[in-house]
């Protein structure tokens, strides 16, 4: 059954949880009131999402659940990088089926994604354009002909508009089928265009390093991590890791890990009982020894003091 939903968020964690594809992890890197909007449209076979969020952040996307996914920016704005490559409204990232990606924005970002199951993507590619559209081994950035890209953008935006203003149209199976056909056609036209420039996102060594970096993080989801142990685990000197992180995350590993620890501490404070836990205990457990500095950093990132977070009732 076709369906659609439009939701707005003020909490990054809720936002990340609502995004369907992959395991989505989101780390906001600057202070501010977070707002995000997510439009999700499931047609019969084609699924699409439109995203917009207002704060600089780093997200990590893992696993696509057997679907062939593309994403593109829907509006120009501050830089939005996917694995170190700038996304533009004029280009499309084709993701591979089973890889992990970092995406980081330096401000307001809006973008859209579309996906079909891998088999259907291949079948449509074959039927509509006679080309093989199974997902590439490494992510690929392609620049379609402007006319084809403009048509895809237009249709994608129209679908988003419908979801907001007239969701009942999208729920109608026949209308949904019509829209789906048009969207698939526009997408295949963009992807199959032989004149498209393509550019591999796999930048050799750095991609491998970032994947290992990610693996270490994933093996210790709830645990604070520090640079020495990470460098030791992935066998890369600090300098190289810093370069890779600058490229892929837009910030150094130290800052990224600090943010991660701040977020972990916040989560722990939220789940803790105020009468059995102290801020000091939580802060030191996540590696913050200079308590004054911790309070300042925490306050500047989350807009409230750690003790205020602790006092809020869990849930």
């Amino acid at each position: 059954m076709p369906s659609s939903a439009v939701r707005t968020f003020t909490d990054p964690d809720d936002y990340a949880a609502a995004i369907r594809q992959g395991t989505y992890e989101l780390t906001v890197t600057e202070r501010g009131d977070f707002t995000a909007k997510l439009t999700r449209i499931d047609l019969h076979r084609l699924w699409m999402q439109r995203f917009s969020d207002n704060l600089p952040r780093i997200s990590h996307i893992a696993g696509w659940g057997g679907r062939a996914v593309i994403a593109f920016r829907t509006e120009p704005g501050p830089s939005l990088l996917s694995s170190g490559i700038e996304m533009q409204p004029t280009n499309i990232v084709r993701y591979s089926e089973a890889q992990n990606y970092y995406r980081h924005s330096s401000g307001f970002a809006s973008y859209g994604s579309m996906s079909l199951s891998v088999a259907e993507m291949a079948a449509f590619g074959d039927a509509l354009a006679g080309t093989d559209l199974t997902p590439p081994r490494d992510a690929v950035l392609i620049t379609p002909l402007p006319a084809a890209m403009a048509r895809l953008q237009r249709l994608h935006a129209a679908a988003g508009h419908l979801a907001e203003t007239a969701p009942e149209i999208l729920a109608n199976p026949d209308a949904a089928r019509g829209l789906e056909q048009a969207l698939v056609e526009a997408m295949v036209a963009c992807l199959a265009d032989q004149k498209a420039h393509s550019n591999s996102l796999a930048q050799g060594q750095h991609t491998i390093i970032m994947r290992r970096f990610r693996r270490v993080l994933e093996e210790n989801p709830e645990q604070p991590l520090y640079i020495p142990e990470i460098c030791k685990a992935i066998r890369v000197p600090d300098r190289t890791l810093r370069q890779c992180c600058q490229e892929y995350l837009g910030t150094g590993p130290k800052h990224y890990l600090l943010l991660r620890r701040l977020h972990l501490a916040r989560r722990a404070l939220r789940q803790a009982q105020p009468n059995t836990t102290t801020v000091t205990e939580t802060a030191t457990r996540f590696g913050f020894w200079q308590l004054g500095r911790f309070a300042v950093e925490y306050q500047s990132l989350f807009g409230e003091s750690p003790s205020a977070t602790l006092r809020q009732l869990p849930g």
Binding site: P228, K232, D238, E281, T284, R285, W289, Q290, L291
Partner: protein
């Protein structure tokens, strides 16, 4: 087991005992004031931190344990001990390699921090973080880290010490201890990545070893005089005097006398069965004239040797603030 200990000392002997794991083997007070020191120690998984505040001039022989590296730096712009004749200025650091034997002297009030860790760990993390060129010389060396790196390390250590003094419970959490350790290792390697600013010269090494052996001889045989020392060490009296002046700031005669006096003092204080008679103990430690000994003794310790022997209380005992190390 991670843990911490904060202590205050009124007796050099207890202070020496508390720092034994850091290689402090003989601590000799060289001025006549009442000894005062404050020590906070933190034991992590692999790192051992210590922060010291001392008030009285002293000389100590530091023998770094095998497979261990000792890193030290002054706190703020306060004077720090002079290790093996190396005077550290603000912003500088000192490393001592495994097995190094160094005399560390202070000229009065001083403040210093140390980190002790296995050399293999340091090298392993150094290579992981910095690359194969990371190197810490096996002999004493002075480092001049980038100001930001030095500050970072000092601040982290300060924060940990403060935490140990105020809220010791924070350090018994294994996760917290690991976090602290990782951050300290990172900060330490940032400091040491620039390479040493000055390394020991061959003459410096020779003099350092002469003094260490001088100390051994002094302890091994109470009857040796200046001439015998020089003969045993195979050096001239002039050189021995120069070494003592350079590293200890006092002449060999005075150093020997103070050392022996301290041995007597400790023997009397401990009240071991052999310490029955003052003159007997004094004679055993090479003092042949009991009368002169007694007056010299009083000049140093402010009481007659017989009073020390009678005193059952041990002055200020270390104030250990519960929690395990």
């Amino acid at each position: 087991m991670p843990g911490s200990r904060a202590s205050v000392f009124g007796e050099p002997e207890d202070f020496e005992e508390a720092l034994r794991a850091d290689g402090v083997t003989a601590l000799l007070v060289t001025s006549r004031e009442q000894f005062r020191a404050r020590l906070t120690q933190i034991s992590l998984d692999r790192l051992h931190l210590a922060s010291v505040e001392e008030e009285v001039a002293r000389v100590a022989l530091v023998a770094v344990p095998a497979n261990t590296i000792l890193v030290s730096w002054p706190i703020g712009d306060r004077p720090a001990p002079v290790w093996g004749g190396i005077e550290m200025r603000t912003g500088e650091m000192l490393t001592l390699g495994p097995g190094n034997r160094v005399h560390a002297r202070t000229g009065g009030s001083c403040r210093w921090d140390t980190i002790r860790l296995p050399d293999k760990e340091l090298l392993c993390y150094g290579r992981a973080l910095w690359g194969p060129s990371f190197f810490v010389p096996p002999a004493p060396a002075v480092w001049r880290p980038a100001p930001a790196a030095g500050r970072h390390l000092a601040q982290l250590q300060r924060a940990a010490i403060r935490m140990a003094e105020a809220r010791s419970g924070a350090l018994t959490n294994a996760e917290a201890a690991r976090g602290l350790e990782q951050q300290l290792i990172y900060a330490l390697i940032q400091c040491l990545s620039s390479g040493p600013a000055a390394q020991e010269t061959s003459a410096g090494r020779r003099h350092r070893c002469i003094l260490a052996r001088f100390d051994d001889l002094l302890r091994a045989d109470a009857s040796l005089g200046r001439v015998e020392f020089c003969a045993e060490l195979g050096i001239s009296e002039r050189l021995l005097r120069a070494c003592c002046r350079e590293y200890l700031r006092i002449g060999p005669n005075r150093y020997v006398r103070l050392q022996r006096m301290q041995q007597v003092h400790r023997a009397l204080r401990s009240g071991t069965p052999g310490a029955a008679s003052v003159s007997e103990v004094a004679r055993r430690h090479g003092f042949r004239d009991p009368g002169r000994f007694a007056s010299n003794y009083r000049a140093v310790y402010g009481e007659l040797p017989s009073a020390t022997l009678r005193r059952s209380s041990r002055g200020i005992t270390p104030l250990s603030l519960h929690r395990p190390v």
